[in-house]
């Protein structure tokens, strides 16, 4: 079933980087902004300076770790829609390739880009923002992978059914950005009205943020087993769903 997966993944990464805006827009630009902002504020922000520290220490890295996958999802949806509209999916269908393989390859390609961007940001940020002296970087990387994979799987489902490339972007934005408002990153979950809290707990992003925040702060995986379980369930449901609803043309 996975025949061709690695080749297709590698190919999609290369093709993505050949796009005029591919490498620059998703890797170079975010890192560059990060460095520029870091340079202008870097000297004045010391680890002890309240009240910015709370957000800088935890919020900012988590926001980056969530925002980047979200933009990757939008790009995933757009790419699949373009492939569908252009008849590329149709051509792939007439081979032994299966839809899961195609989507998995795109997710792996996106993960690779996400990881590359975050690693570069971390390297660039180390000089200007002296956060994370005791950050469990490998655990955090794993948490990023788990949450990104889960967030991307929602993209799968949207990508499976969006009919045209023109609608892909607005529909993706409409579904994804409200999640950002309710994920607990900007307003703590406890401070929300009860109905909104219920909604927030139905959204995958909430679990991703909770996991990323916790791991970044140095909490154990055991304490966030619920978040991981939720993310895995979301991934499993979305994958099963897209195998059912995937449209080739």
């Amino acid at each position: 079933m996975l025949r061709g997966l690695w080749k297709l993944t590698w190919l999609e990464i290369k093709i993505f980087l050949r796009e005029p805006l591919g490498a620059i827009g998703s890797i170079v630009f975010p890192v560059l902004i990060f460095v520029v902002v870091g340079r202008s504020f870097g000297g004045r922000l010391t680890p002890g300076a309240p009240p910015l520290t709370g957000f800088l220490r935890v919020g900012l890295p988590v926001l980056a770790a969530v925002l980047i996958p979200l933009t990757e999802v939008l790009s995933l949806i757009a790419i699949i829609a373009i492939y569908r509209e252009g008849g590329i999916l149709k051509r792939l269908r007439a081979t032994p390739l299966r839809p899961q393989t195609i989507l998995t390859a795109h997710v792996l390609a996106k993960l690779a880009v996400t990881v590359a961007t975050l690693v570069l940001m971390a390297l660039a940020g180390r000089r200007y923002l002296p956060i994370g002296v005791n950050v469990p970087i490998w655990s955090f990387a794993l948490a990023v992978l788990v949450s990104t994979w889960s967030i991307l799987s929602i993209g799968f489902v949207i990508a499976s059914i969006v009919p045209t490339a023109r609608f892909a972007q607005p529909i993706g934005t409409l579904i994804l950005y409200p999640m950002l408002a309710l994920c607990g990153l900007f307003i703590p979950l406890g401070a929300m009205p009860r109905p909104l809290q219920v909604v927030a707990h139905l959204l995958p992003l909430t679990y991703a943020v909770s996991l990323l925040e916790g791991i970044w702060k140095g909490e154990t995986w055991r304490a966030h087993a619920g978040d991981v379980a939720a993310l895995v369930i979301i991934f499993a449901v979305c994958t099963a769903l897209c195998a059912k609803v995937f449209r080739w043309e």
Binding site: K7, R18, G87, I88, A94, T95
Partner: protein, 287 residues
Amino acid sequence: MAVSDVSFEVREGEIFGLIGPNGAGKTTTMECVEGVRRPDHGTISILGLDPFRDVYRLQNRIGVQLQQAQLQKRIKVWEAVDLWASLYSQAVDRNQLLGQLGLEGKRNAWFMTLSGGQKQRLFIALALINDPEVVFLDELTTGLDPQARRAIWDLVRAIRDRGKTVFLTTHLMEEAERLCDRVAIIEHGAIVDIGTPEELVARHCPARTVVLATENALAEECLRSLACVNAVERQDLRFTIHGLGDEFVSDVIDCLAENRIRVTDFRTVIPTLEDVFLKLTGRSIRD
């Protein structure tokens, strides 16, 4: 419903063409056989497999070129061939295949930079990469210039000569006539007739026509007296003679010789598959 009454058999090692006007159901029929579309009724058997149930096993043994397919804009020719080769349990030599299709110079070109004919040849390469037993070609030369078309015809004949079976659709009658061993004419989702191009012409358009020019005043009378001649039209010195049967042209020539009638022009008009096609599918314009 696109297709309602379609029944045919494709023989091993032949080039079989499905011809019909736009919207007649050619592509639908072909997609059902390829296993990418599920028929509501009826049975299909290809290489002993059910195309829908055994689709992955079938796709490993067939090669497909689709109408209006595209690849990723920035995929390189060799990358596409390499990816396709990795999808099947067996693959032919990639460099040799690119060579056969005249694409070795385009190995590193992006798909979006290829010409129409080059794209079509790449799609044929992808259809042949797994050394398939049956090759499906849907409208493979539509939109190509005559040079590219002829080159592709040679390629298709070469596929058959290697013992493969080719199943193609086209709406170019010249293509069907020159390329196909047998053709099926499809119209409104039903097969109208099947046979070799020659058989179809003989069956549906047996009429023959000779056009000649002569100054001999006796010509008209002599020609009219022939048994196989149905009608003679005259326009100044030019005669158009309509008749039936294989002997008709010889009889006209014999008649001219016996009566020592000198002609300044002589040509025969033999009906083609296109005449058969128009007769069977009508002359109204389709969408």
